[in-house]
C-alpha cells in the first residue's frame, strides 16, 4: 500500500519541548511529504523530502528519511501551543499517483 502510517497516534507535550512523529511506509518512493491539519479542515503542506535526501530543515521543522527502513520522522523543536494539530505523512511512489494519507498523529501542545 502507498499509504503511510504515522506513530504515535496521539502525542501530548508541554510548550517548549520537542515533538517527534514517525512515519512508516511499504512501497519504494520518489519523495515523501508532511502535512498539518488544524481543526479538521484543510491540510497545509509542511515539507517535501526526496528519496535521495536524508534530512531537510524548514524553520523549527526537521525531517529525516531512511529509505532502507522505509521510515521518516518529523521533529518540531521548541513547540508552541499553535503547533497543536494533526500531522500526516504522504509517501509518493512516483509523480503519477495522487497522495494517500494515513490517520495521522494528533499533537497537543500544552501551554
Amino acid at each position: 500500500s502507498q499509504q503511510g502510517e504515522e506513530d504515535p497516534q496521539a502525542l501530548s507535550i508541554q510548550e517548549g519541548e520537542n515533538a517527534t512523529m514517525n512515519c512508516s511506509y511499504k512501497t519504494s518512493i520518489n519523495n515523501l511529504q508532511w502535512y498539518r491539519q488544524n481543526s479538521g479542515r484543510g491540510l497545509v503542506h509542511l515539507i517535501l523530502i526526496r528519496s535521495n535526501e536524508r534530512e531537510k530543515h524548514s524553520g523549527r521543522l526537521r525531517v529525516t528519511l531512511d529509505t532502507s527502513k522505509k521510515s521518516s520522522s518529523l521533529l518540531i523543536t521548541a513547540s508552541r501551543a499553535a503547533d497543536t494539530a494533526s500531522y500526516f505523512c504522504a509517501p509518493s511512489p512516483s509523480g503519477n499517483t495522487p497522495l494517500v494519507f494515513g490517520k495521522g498523529t494528533r499533537l497537543s501542545v500544552i501551554a
Binding site: R41, G42, L43, F88, T97
Partner: protein, 115 residues
Amino acid sequence: GAGVSQTPSNKVTEKGKYVELRCDPISGHTALYWYRQSLGQGPEFLIYFQGTGAADDSGLPNDRFFAVRPEGSVSTLKIQRTERGDSAVYLCASSLRLAGNNEQFFGPGTRLTVL
C-alpha cells in the same frame, strides 16, 4: 493570490436527497483532487482530475458519487440519494501538476451532514 475555495462550507441535507459540492482550485493548477474525511481519520482519496478528465476515480465508494470538471478549472462533486454514512468533511485540493512531485493546496472543506 487566492487559494482553493469550496462552497458551501456547510451543507445539511436529508437522507435520499441530491447534493453538489463545488471546488474552485488555484488558477493554473491542472491537477484537482477530492478527499473525504471522517472524524478521527485521515483524508480518504476519492478522485483526481488532470485537466478535464478524471485520471483516477478508484476511490469513489459507489455509483452514487460522481465528479466533473468540464472546463479544467472548477469541479463539482455530486452525491445522489445521500445516506447518513455520507456525512463527512469533503476536501478539495489542487496542485500545479500531479502531486507526486508537487505539494497539494487544500481548500477549507465542506462539512456535509445527512440527517
